[in-house]
């Protein structure tokens, strides 16, 4: 059973929760830039949370399946239609055989995660189905989707069957994920960060004082920012060490780069800060021209926020399990 890609859109890749365990070989974690959205969408269609779905960038995709599938999406404020009817984020919907799913260009935000029941049956490479776009492996032929591609879909689970049975009349569910999980733009306008190893080498509070703008050179590897230049008060060439998604590094030109999921595993530029895990979904919605501001939190606060989100997700898992029994 296959997904037919009539229009691949601006930049669409197969992603799952990422490729953990190969950092020591220099392999990025990659995966959905908003793994929380990918988990939620997968739960909504009865998939394993780690099933492979699509990461849509700036939309413009038209897709069809050659059998009935339950679909769901989460992430940016996209306009998604199934058979001409709008499907809100975080709501499972039935996509009938041959029916068209259209995702148009979003008015703001950049990315959404769209899953199909059964997930994509693409080869597992180094423990993941994610596309490593920079090194051209994993996902679908190690590349972004193109018009006319045909992707194998996996077998739907019994849970999907029960969700599908409830969608036979309405086609679009009236229940789903909390609204704030399906539009993940930063609600308070700030990306929260904790200090990085080199923060003391920059003038005090340089990062939280300034406003920055996202440049067109941004991609899944990192968001390049312009605005005030962040200059170190002491200049030493640092020895390379680990960086992670969320790291804000500052090259000598003073323009910070916020690293995302496809980032390198080791870097040598000074690390002024790290955007906290729960705000990485908001970072994944940044598009060229967007304004960005940063606010400092403590490591303790970052951990509390992480645990709180995990508790909410755990409650959601239980709710979904009860709903599909």
């Amino acid at each position: 059973m296959k997904l037919h890609v009539a229009r691949a859109g601006f930049f669409t890749t197969v992603q799952d929760l990422g490729r953990a365990g190969y950092r020591a070989s220099g392999v990025s974690v990659g995966g959905a830039l908003d793994p929380h959205a990918m988990r939620v969408a997968n739960l909504l269609v009865g998939n394993n949370e780690a099933s492979a779905g699509l990461e849509l960038t700036l939309g413009r995709a038209r897709l069809q399946c050659d059998d009935d599938r339950v679909i769901a999406w989460a992430g940016g404020s996209f306009d998604v239609q199934v058979g001409g009817h709008p499907v809100a984020g975080g709501r499972p919907a039935l996509l009938r055989k041959g029916e068209e799913l259209i995702a148009t260009a979003p008015p703001d935000g950049a990315r959404a995660w769209l899953v199909f029941s059964g997930g994509f049956d693409v080869p597992v490479v180094l423990g993941s189905r994610s596309t490593d776009f920079r090194s051209n492996f994993g996902g679908f032929e190690g590349r972004a989707l193109r018009d006319g591609d045909l992707l194998n879909l996996g077998k739907s689970s019994p849970g999907t069957g029960r969700i599908a049975a409830r969608l036979l009349k309405s086609h679009i569910a009236s229940w789903g994920a909390p609204n704030e999980w399906s539009n993940t733009r930063s609600s308070h306008g700030f990306l929260r960060f904790i200090r990085g190893a080199a923060s003391s080498q920059f003038s005090h509070a340089a990062l939280s004082r300034e406003s920055f703008q996202v440049t067109a050179e941004s991609d899944r590897m990192g968001v390049r920012l312009k605005g005030a230049k962040l200059m170190r008060t002491e200049i030493t060439d640092l020895i390379s060490e680990a960086v992670v998604p969320g790291t804000i590094q500052v090259p000598p030109d003073g323009h910070p780069i916020l690293l995302l999921g496809d980032c390198q595993t080791i870097g040598g530029y000074p690390k002024i800060a790290h955007v906290i895990s729960v705000d990485l979904p908001a970072a994944a919605q940044l598009r060229p021209g967007d304004a960005v501001r940063f606010a400092e939190v403590t490591l303790e606060q970052a951990h509390q926020l992480f645990l709180a989100r995990e508790r909410d997700l755990q409650r959601f898992r239980i709710r979904i399990r009860l709903q599909t029994q």
Binding site: A24, G26, A242, V244, T265, I276, A302
Partner: protein
Amino acid sequence: MKFVALGDSALVVHLREELGKPNETLTVVRRALELLQRAALPGVTELTASYTTVAIFFDPVIVARHANDESSTQWLIARVTQTLRKPRAFRGKGCGKLFEIPVCYDGEFALDLAAVAQHAGVSEQEVVRRHSGGEYRVHCIGFTPGFPYLSGLPVELAIPRRPSPRKHVPMGSVAIGGEQTGIYPQTSPGGWNVIGRTPRRLFDPEQAPPALLQAGDCVRFHPITRAEFETLAR
């Protein structure tokens, strides 16, 4: 030993302030990595090494469960400190495998050879002679899949990274960043100074392990002509 948070899901242990004697530091780092691998601390999901550090990746949920009333970070630091204090013999001091990497230092590939020569105050030919005359040691693989970070660069060839990274450094580029030298296994952004190119494939996701070089291996660069490069690249 110093601990620095690398975001909210990783911790970096600084084992040395600076590289110092590269081979000794490499042994210290590899020993720490081995001790932590054996300890398999709860919540720790992945370990990686760099020149002077080990990065410990963890699941904040599992660590918080074990830490109880303590802060997660304090709990983890205490467990890591305890682990690294264990007296234990380490046998991995010597060279791993020895690799001869062919490099073409021709003008078209050597985007920054002139800059490196000028910075070092020697001719371009002399840069090539010195770069290919040394024996290097792999300290870690990182940055991009299969990228080896090497020590052993003759000090006079050290040159700061470029002020702004290039968007596309070609696959196979051999480059210098500070006192480090390395090879870009695939076309990627990068800020190091490119002095040549190898036709050798350094990363293959179908192989186990996928990276050709491993921490501890030794590397020599062997100069080749443009014609030899074309033959080997085929």
